[in-house]
Amino acid sequence: MDDMMFLTFLATLVGAAWRLATPLIFASIGEVFSERAGVLNIGLEGTMLVGAFCGFAAAFATGSVPLGLLAGIAGGMLFGLVFAVFTITIKADQIVVGAALNLLGMGLTAFLFRTYYVSTGKGIEIAQPVLIPFLSDIPFLGEAFFRQNLIVYSTVLVAVLASLVLFRTSFGLTLRAVGEHPKAVDVAGRNVAAYRYGAVMVGTGLAGLGGAFLTLGHSNQFVEGITSGRGFIVLAVVVFARWSPIGAFFVSLLFGLFYALQLMLQAQASIIVPYQVLQALPYIMTIITLVVLRGKGAAPSKLGQPYEMR
């Protein structure tokens, strides 16, 4: 009987891990695109917040989750456009601009939320789980994998699609070349800036989607700073994943597992360690990840550097 309980616990854990990993999966795959093109966006935290807020606001107004998701993507991309203009066209330092956008994202979303929504205290309708026929009835596996909402399922599709685009299309090849050897791309007659713009838009659009999932697929409310550092954890996920979309999917799942473990163990009264230790788990694991995976063999060689035509 104890084994049964453990299996149930495990199934719930894995299911929760996938859900909690979903925002990380979207944002980290997006950041893989961006970094492959040589653009390091540390403004993802702010971008995800904007996505979360836009998603919430749109769903609040229309009552529609799909429209909310679209608004999240659009909000993320709009924010990304600012980042792109400053880092690609103006060629400002990517870290400085990213830090500014984090402040801006945090400030704007909190300002608008307090101005328009905080007093209403109402939540929104969120995406409901879709039970896959037959598969969801499989003991344990059904609970773990086949009782999620559509946004969670779509992460698999996004990961596969991103991998195909990045490694199997000429667009992807050029995109990667832009991050490794922009001059070659330039000489070949392709527009480096245009590719970087494209990569940043894909990246921030997905980050916006990841943020929107937090309000539309997970909590039913916007909370100031709802991303709680996920935008930064994503940066570590991308390093761990060696700049691969499929890798980003699985590494995000691992981090989702840390989140899920933290929440489920917190609920267990008998636990001996203080809950703060569990709370700190994702952050500590991020640091350990970076230390264990030292050496930047796979990093795009022009990561973080603006391209100057000469």
Binding site: A92, D93, L101, F111, T115, L235, G295
Partner: protein
């Protein structure tokens, strides 16, 4: 002036000592960009207020002038300026060395924890010993916390951007654990530590105002860091490492050591800021002792063009904006987070104007 903005990657070489009049004229020229940046940010803030049904002109009348009502309100601004100047000046050193320490917030918290530990123990010391000891504890703890990220960078090439941010969260969680657990004052309704022993408090400048000598310490240290960066050989080495680590290595400079020093200096300044918050303002440790000074310090340093001397001015400016945003919230119900939007736009404008100036220079 040459290093007004580190954000612009250009080939600028650190300069040797120069006559004072040249320094002064450079200060005047380099002040144009930050002033323009602040004006743009305030204009954007006014537009944001106006678009959302608030009174846009409040941003000037209330936010800037409203916070200068009397001596007491000026004292409150200087009180807020203290951590901002300390953190901002410290981050100037790190950023000059191209070390992206985003972890000042966490370093502040760890400094506050250490200050509380020292300030609640060692009863019977004189104020001349205990108060400085508390500051020292804060600075050392902040330096050590930043040192973790520095070590991970030089030893394992772990990005300090990510590690310092993660250490922020860990420090906040640690504080929450301590004030709800081992360090909790059991008699209090809210999670907070015991009160610091009176001799450990940072002495006040005027007895009936909260302003303490921390502001003087902050200004002196900012000047000291400016001299360190511009006039000492170690400061020179830090700047060379920041501009071109490969060149620094060929010149026989130890990159790893300079990175550690830059990291620990910025951490010590943030830790000291944390010590002053506990020993000078609240006299107890709380879960949210900082309203984001560590992040605001980044904006302070960038607006100052990574010059510790200018950080005194930009720290004062951001403190004014923060005070003003509090007044604005009380008088017009404008959410106080407006100040974050203004900070973000200030950084973006600084970057844009620096670029614009480069373009103008090329054209001219």
């Amino acid at each position: 002036m040459a290093q007004v903005n580190q954000g612009v990657r250009e080939t600028v070489y650190p300069q040797a000592a120069q006559p004072l009049y040249r320094t002064l004229s450079q200060i005047a020229i380099s002040a144009v960009t930050p002033i323009a940046a602040v004006l743009v940010a305030l204009a954007c803030g006014a537009a944001l207020l106006w678009l959302n049904g608030f009174n846009g002109s409040d941003i000037v009348t209330v936010m800037i002038f409203g916070s200068f009502q009397d001596m007491r309100s000026v004292g409150e601004i200087l009180l807020k300026a203290t951590p901002l100047i300390l953190i901002g000046a410290g981050l100037c050193v790190a950023f000059r060395c191209s070390i992206w320490n985003i972890g000042a917030e966490g370093q502040l918290y760890v400094g506050a924890i250490a200050a509380t530990l020292v300030g609640t123990n060692f009863d019977g010391l004189s104020v001349w010993v205990h108060a400085p000891l508390v500051m020292l504890a804060g600075a050392l703890a902040g330096a050590a916390w930043a040192g973790i990220a520095g070590y991970l960078k030089v030893r394992f090439q772990a990005s300090e951007i990510v590690t310092t941010i993660m250490l922020n969260y860990i420090a906040l969680i640690l504080t929450s654990y301590l004030v709800t657990g081992p360090m909790r004052d059991a008699s209090a309704a809210y999670p907070q530590s015991a009160r610091l022993i009176r001799e450990a408090w940072t002495p006040r400048i005027v007895s009936d105002m909260r302003l303490h000598i921390g502001i003087l310490v902050a200004i002196v240290l900012a000047v000291a860091l400016y001299i360190f960066l511009q006039r000492s050989s170690r400061g020179f080495a830090l700047r060379v490492v920041g501009l071109n680590p490969h060149a620094a290595r060929y010149a026989g400079m130890q990159v790893a050591r300079n990175v550690m020093i830059a990291m620990c200096i910025s951490g010590a300044m943030a830790g000291l800021a944390g010590a002053f918050e506990v020993a000078g303002v609240t006299h107890r440790l709380y879960q949210n002792i900082s309203p984001g000074y560590g992040f605001e310090g980044i904006a302070v340093a960038l607006l100052a063009g990574n010059n510790p001397l200018a950080a005194i001015v930009s720290g004062g400016l951001f403190a004014t904006l923060r005070s003003g945003s509090e007044v604005l919230q009380i008088t017009s119900q404008v959410p106080q987070v407006l100040v974050l939007v203004i900070q973000g736009i200030v950084i973006l404008s600084v970057v844009a104007f620096a670029k614009l100036r480069d373009i103008l220079r090329i054209v001219a």
